[in-house]
């Protein structure tokens, strides 16, 4: 159980095993995790909820892909400044460029190193960052 004041990280990932790993890692670091398993659920959540401290977003998602989600985030007034860290597949340089062009702040390539991912998350969630 995380304290109410803990920063919230929205994880949008359709792979159940990976989302469980991400939740475990992030909760261990003291963050609260909200998980959405597909693009449609994430879109509804963005439209209806308060912004989190950070969004960890997979590119390949059912219904609505990660590129559209990041555009949705940037178009939403209260979500506009939320840092977005995208998970892109290996050997898809084009996806990485597209993610950054769409408005993502940073990206992590899958397969990913857990400690590297946490370091990138911390970079955005450091007080005063």
């Amino acid at each position: 159980m995380q304290p109410e004041s803990a920063p919230v990280v929205l994880v949008v990932e359709d792979d159940e095993h990976i989302s469980q790993v991400l939740r475990f890692m992030l909760e261990r670091q003291g963050y609260q995790v909200v998980h959405m398993a597909d693009g449609r659920a994430a879109s509804s959540h963005i439209a209806a909820s308060n912004p989190p401290a950070l969004v960890l977003l997979d590119v390949m998602l059912p219904y609505v892909d990660g590129f559209e989600i990041v555009q949705l985030i940037r178009a939403q007034e209260n979500w506009r400044d939320v840092p977005v860290l995208m998970l892109t597949a290996k050997n898809t340089e084009r996806d990485t460029v597209r993610a950054l062009d769409a408005g993502a702040n940073d990206f992590v390539i899958k397969p990913f190193q857990p400690q590297e991912l946490l370091a990138r998350v911390r970079r955005f969630l450091r007080p005063g960052a």
Partner: protein, 350 residues
């Protein structure tokens, strides 16, 4: 009377047929219910196994290796292996090593070796993946046998595992195999050999001089797919070959200026496909002085040659944008100037 007897026989036959059909339907229904119950029971069992092992694997992944591990129950083995292999494929670095340590402490290596020999097809595929991730040297002979099977999925999974177990030995074994098995896509071969690019380059360098013209193009395309820079002598021999497929495959693999004289000579080849590849190769490795050669090709009778020559001019490292503008202005052939303008516009939009 006869009519009545016949009618009774038909009615009896219809009744028995109906009864048999009903019985079969009931049996089928029972079987479906039984299979459904078994599936639900297995799903519950798998969920229990994952609930027990997921936190332990997650802790190991983030560097909090548990001091002691509970025994892995028989019913937990397959769901555990599936989760473990999935995590191995999704993570890299220290997390992979941590997962390997957990697996070895649980005796997964020995279990997977047994499964590789005695398991059914899905179990053998899973165990090959597991043993590959574990770099398990003891599994080498069984994986080799598996790689020789006619089932492509089984064979390619075994090759994937072999290259992780011992990259140099696997490259020596696989390179001739990938050259011979033309039904396997080059991307598959490259994907597997990517784990062993250096040994694969060494194996290809040894093999290329011994190959006939029928096998050389595929071998050269494998080198190209792996982005290997082959020795100049080996590549030069391919570029001087009388066989057009060999020359084209050789040109596609030019990555260093060692074979520049051969590439330049091929710009004037009678076959336009050779000229296309020669222009592309010159774009990759050419010098400033090669601009004039490529300008000549801008007036080629084949559209693709002109197009690739224009692209190659843009790729030449020694030519600046200003140089290209001057060059375009100096062209007297309208088709050549149009082609260069098109390539420059496309490059600006990339």
């Amino acid at each position: 009377m006869t009519l009545a007897t016949q009618s009774d026989t038909f009615i009896a036959a219809a009744l028995w047929t109906g009864f048999a059909a009903l019985l079969l339907t009931l049996l089928l229904g029972l079987q479906i219910i039984g299979m459904r119950l078994m599936l639900r029971r297995r799903q519950r069992s798998d969920a229990r196994a994952l609930a027990r092992w997921r936190p332990l694997l997650n802790a190991a992944i983030v560097g909090e290796m548990p001091d002691s591990l509970p025994p892995l129950r028989r019913a937990e083995r397959l769901p555990f292996l599936r989760l473990w292999a999935h995590l191995q494929g999704s993570l890299r670095g220290e997390a992979n090593e941590a997962l390997n340590e957990v697996a070895r402490r649980l005796g997964i290596d020995a279990y997977a070796r047994g499964l590789l020999v005695r398991g059914n097809r899905p179990a053998r595929l899973l165990s090959a993946l597991v043993l590959g991730h574990l770099h398990d040297r003891e599994a080498w002979p069984a994986l080799l046998r598996m790689a020789e099977q006619p089932d492509n999925t089984v064979a390619l999974t075994a090759l994937w595992a072999l290259v992780r177990v011992d990259p140099p030995a696997a490259a020596d074994y696989m390179v001739p195999l990938f050259i011979a098995r033309e039904e396997w896509a080059l991307s598959l071969a490259a994907g597997i050999l990517q784990q062993a690019t250096e040994p694969a380059a060494a194996a290809l360098t040894r093999l290329l001089p011994q190959l006939g013209e029928d096998k050389l193009p595929r071998a050269l395309r494998i080198a190209e797919a792996l982005h290997l820079a082959l020795p100049g002598a080996v590549l030069g021999a391919a570029l001087r070959s009388p066989s057009m497929p060999v020359v084209i495959a050789g040109l596609r693999g030019v990555r260093t200026p060692e074979t520049l004289p051969e590439v330049r000579a091929l710009l004037a080849h009678a076959d336009w496909q050779v000229r296309v590849q020669a222009a592309r190769a010159l774009g990759r490795v050419g010098e400033r002085a090669d601009a004039e050669r490529l300008v000549q090709l801008l007036g080629d009778r084949e559209w693709w040659v002109r197009y690739r020559a224009a692209e190659a001019l843009l790729e030449l490292p020694a030519l600046s944008r200003a140089d290209l503008d001057v060059l375009r202005a100096s062209l007297t052939d309208r088709f050549a100037a149009d082609m260069l303008s098109q390539a420059m516009a496309e490059s600006a939009n990339k």
